[in-house]
């Protein structure tokens, strides 16, 4: 990484992040991001040969049991949704048929 500057394609990152970003902001970020990355790249100097995985970290799962009563939270959660149809959240069509 040190001898080769990464190319930061802000437009592609915005697309991946599902984030509408104006051309003006993209131009600004193209200037800011490399300086932030240059700063965080100082970690490349750290010698990690002695690093061992933190053994205290593990996934915590609860048993798949004792479900709450069906419908208990339906109304409160649906009332927060921007659009609903009955007991469902209404969304735009996900798959569209291309004309050509």
């Amino acid at each position: 990484m040190s001898d080769e500057k990464p190319i930061i394609n802000i437009r592609a990152l915005a697309e991946l992040s599902r984030l509408a970003v104006s051309d003006e902001e993209i131009a600004k970020l193209e200037k800011e991001m490399p300086s932030i990355l240059t700063f965080v790249e100082t970690i490349q100097k750290a010698d990690i040969s002695s690093a061992v995985a933190d053994t205290s970290l593990r996934n915590v799962m609860r048993a798949d049991e004792n479900p709450h009563e069906t419908g208990k939270y339906t109304e409160v959660l649906l009332s927060a949704a921007p659009a609903r149809e009955g007991d469902r959240i209404a969304v735009k069509q996900v798959i569209t048929r291309k004309n050509n």
């Binding site: 984030l19 509408a20 965080v40 002695s50 690093a51 995985a53 735009k92």
Partner: protein, 478 residues
Amino acid sequence: MDLTKLTIAEARRALDAKEYSALDLTNAYLDVIRVKNPEIHAYLEVWEESARAEAKRADEMIAQGKQMPLTGIPIAMKDNILIEGRIASAASKILENYHASYDATVTKKLKVQGAVFLGRANMDEFAMGSSTENSAFGPSKNPIDLSRVPGGSSGGSSAAVAASMALAALGSDTGGSIRQPASFTGLVGLKPTYGAVSRFGLMAMGSSLDQIGPLTRTTEDAKILFDAIKGNDPQDSTSLPETGRSDLPSLEGQTFQRPKRIGVPRSFLAEGTDPDILKRFEGQIQKLAKQGYEIVDIEMSHVPYSLAVYYIVMPAEVSTNLERFDGIRYGLSVPAEGIKEVYSKTRGAGFGAEARRRILLGTFVLSSGYADAYYRKARAVRSLIRDDFMKAFEIVDAVATPTCPAPAFKFGSKSDPLAMYIEDIFSTPANLAGVPAISVPMGAVNRDGVDLPVGIQIIAPHRREDVLFAIGTDIERA
């Protein structure tokens, strides 16, 4: 009652002695809020009516002799902690009209105690920032000098307590967001051990870093509030079990031993720290030595990488956590042709500049081809930072640093994102290592004729908040 000096401990005594009622106390704070909030803007919303109702219930508890440590204590809640039915916006346009569907665990615990919720405190959007300048609803001001920031991201919380608009406040700390505002406003701010306080109902920012904690006037008050909100919670998978972790001290049978030795990583402190702050810090260290503490110079070779590690790990987690704001289930939704456009337009319109910057940065460090050099390398260095602390705590009981490299800064003076990020240099190591840390006032430095408070940070081993409270109390005594 003198609200500028009042503590939770003193209010508890006076309430139990019936010197005034909880309703009197709440009304006194509401009066101050009415006068000061238009200028200081600590609160995004004040809950006058419900606060009075809660105070009346607290008075009933006291009348029945059923009071608990926080019964009738008026507090401010950071705007990223859920209270069922009330707006919780994280100071973001994307949640401007979002009403919480449930209570956070800390909220439930405070309700059981009969605490009074005065309002929701301003913050940097989604807790990203060090000044509240990233709030979508305008910044809060530092009550000590209105031309300066109250710190951030819990800057509404710090401003509220410092201006006597609340007796105490809850904040959240991902990289310093409780301790830095406490330092800037002359308060005590505690970031508990990772997992000590449930994060259920706290809007996630950096899930491996976030902790809820108190901002108070004294160390004793910080302990009272911490004791009320801590504890294992099955609804938060990162919540620490009371027992059964071989790598962490068990809470059972833990006996308190007075801390004796404090380590100071001097080579880490020298660079970039305001000379006046260093002077105050060395003066405070000398006082601690006079009080009987042994001061030891320590080397922490990987800790200086903390800020760089933090600005990789945190945006990575931010970009993942903020995926949930998509305009479909709750919050802002911008109508558009297809679902993909609903996502991108909603997020583009709803998130502020700093949130967008961190989402993009996080997406980059996690992207294929770069994740090894950035994210995975940062994780490895993070484990070495944790080791640095583990090794230090074999020789010392606590580590001391200034909380921040400089006192409260003026609005607009840190327009370059990196200049703002440097604020977190001394606070991020504790979040990365998961250890508890407290900021306690250590006097003031003068800027433009104003005495600006500054804090000393004490860091202790996992689960040793008791060490922080003991040293914090000694600092207040000196």
